[in-house]
């Protein structure tokens, strides 16, 4: 992972020819800091495809992130973006959504940001069922700091802080947020970009807390440490080890340990948090909460 970049003069036409979603980018910030072969590029494209098919307005989109490779995404997209401190993306997103419920708020986060340092905010945002779409790029490792274990690193996997193999038990993020009350959950890998963009669309359209996990490759650190040296070998591994949730019943618990269960798991209705606050404001003051009141009060 390169820590940072300076924008240099770039030939934008090349980007536009290569990517139909380039119009959503802050072109003066390209190229990105992401390593070659990183799964974040696939995730951004899947997000923009899902966003377009949702019919939502890009001008009304606000992106929030914490710290880590995936949290750098909002800085590259040309909408309002809030790049916050490590683990706190969901608490900032909660304040932004409540402060102005008209905004469509999407959170980009990673396994370390969402499940380690930010784990408390993850379960509480799910509990509130606040209308946020969380895209968690799970690469099973800390990329930005150079390859340490994360709360989703498989047992036995190697990292710079697990030189003998991880002895921690990994989190199942979908089980975690489901138990906490999320009303839409889905998990795909970067080998499933179409299914992923469809789930992102469904998550965006759910009026509640939506959590989409993207199992993604970090060839630079996870791959190099764990004998999956190329992005292709990692994506191949995702294809071979993923199993649709419908087929899970045929496998034993032990067999499932080495599998990535993919699909949409929860899609249900429950009252949304910012709506409840609006209803309360209506009841007590006779109107919705005042938008942008700092400019008039």
């Amino acid at each position: 992972m390169v820590e940072d970049n300076e924008s240099t003069e770039t030939d934008f036409i090349t980007y536009e020819e290569k990517n139909p979603y380039i119009k959503y980018f802050r072109k003066d910030r390209l190229p990105t800091i992401f390593c070659s072969g990183c799964g974040i590029g696939i995730t951004i494209n899947s997000f923009l495809k899902g966003f377009e098919s949702s019919g939502m307005d890009f001008n009304n989109l606000s992106l929030v992130s914490g710290i880590g490779c995936s949290s750098r995404i909002p800085g590259y997209l040309n909408c309002d973006s809030l790049h916050t401190s490590h683990g706190r993306a969901l608490s900032f997103a909660t304040g932004l959504k409540v402060g102005n419920p008209d905004l469509d708020v999407v959170v980009f986060t990673g396994d370390g940001d969402a499940a380690a340092i930010g784990g408390n905010h993850l379960i509480h945002a799910a509990r509130r069922n606040i209308n946020l779409t969380v895209i968690c790029i799970n690469n099973n490792i800390y990329g930005m700091t150079g390859g340490q274990i994360s709360p989703t690193s498989p047992e036995g996997s190697l990292a710079t802080t697990a030189p003998y193999g991880s002895i921690d038990t990994p989190f199942n993020l979908i089980d975690l947020v489901t138990a906490a009350g999320a009303t839409f959950t889905g998990r795909w890998t970067t080998a499933h970009p179409l299914q992923l963009s469809n789930s992102i669309k469904n998550g965006l359209l759910n009026n509640g807390f939506s959590f989409i996990e993207v199992v993604s490759q970090c060839p630079t650190y996870y791959g190099r440490k764990n004998k999956l040296k190329t992005p292709v070998s990692m994506i191949k591994m995702f294809k071979e080890s993923s199993i649709n949730k419908r087929k899970v019943g045929t496998l034993s618990e032990k067999e499932l340990l080495s599998k990535i269960v993919i699909g949409e798991f929860v899609n249900k209705k429950r009252e949304e948090f910012s709506n409840k606050l609006e209803n309360l404001s209506h009841k007590e003051s006779g109107r919705n909460t005042i938008r942008k009141s700092a400019y008039i009060l």
Binding site: T84, G95, G99, L103, L280, E284, I290, K292, A294
Partner: protein, 375 residues
Amino acid sequence: MTKELFIQGNEACARGAIEAGCRFFGGYPITPSTEIAEYLSTTLPEVSGSFIQMEDELSAIGAVIAASWSGVKSMTATSGPGFSLMQENIGFAMMSETPLVVVDVQRGSPSTGQPTMSGQGDMMQARWGSHGDYEPIAISPSSVQEFFDFTVLGFNLAEKYRVPVIILADEVIGHMREKVRLPDNVETFKRIMPKEDPKDFLPFKNVRNGTNPMPAFGDGYNIHVTGLTHNELGYPITINPKVHSNLVRRLVNKILKNRKDIVSCDFKYCDDADIVLISYGSPVRSIMETVKIGRSSGIKLGYLKINTPYPFPEDEVVKIAKNVNDLMVVEMNLGQMFHEIERVASSNAGVHLFSEIGGTLPKPNDILDRILELL
């Protein structure tokens, strides 16, 4: 027509926040600040605002920062342990120039300390608690009336300079009940929207007075807000020394160069005084009484009441130090603002410390006894 009420300090603070235009509170219960949250949980929905009880103080300050960027004046209230948890994101608010108010009703410390007793142990935490160079604005009320007035002032300064403002109250002021006068009309500083077209607007421009207008999320400015070192557009540029230096110096100077506009002190009987007592927050009440008793028995005492511990009123302290023999700093810790005062005044006057820890206010007679030792 002003309204007179007999209310608790924490309620006065909450009422001040509403009058100042606060329409978002995110917080976590902690003694002795909780009544602020309780009062606002009732009042905010009545004025079309939002109240959230967050899962901890880390998330409380995060929600408050983002609510401010949504275009709403926002605040939280806490005490020492929660204030410690908020430090990282107070730094984020400094770096991202986010207006907000943090009320710290100080209690006995360190650690969990004395939840229901008073203290002033957070003075240096308010100054240096977050990592890096920054200039905080902190205001200390010494009466229930001032807790109302200074909360309004806190919001106005936060908006004017686009900074987090810390109200450094203490348990005595938070829980005491006094008569307050609530004015009909409170003067507020309304946030300024940029006039430029979004494509021409630099949200973090290196302007002379340091403070830029602030758009809200959703206004079409497509701004990027980050805690990383950023250029005038807001884009992260972390390895260019000049970009970092320009940014941090502007953030520091926008407070230091406007020190005169922000700093506030009150003093009495300093002209002919031999010894001047200096305090802030609730012990101001003790030094006022000490001066009264001292003067009645012929000791020439005066007092300096610091309303804004930060930016530190350096000039005001030096001016008084030049005219007296001794200064005595009275505070409810083992010496925090004392060191600031000693730093600027010791070449002009003797600087002494009267510490009171344990949770109760310093007693005027005890202060007087120490003064008699000096004479």
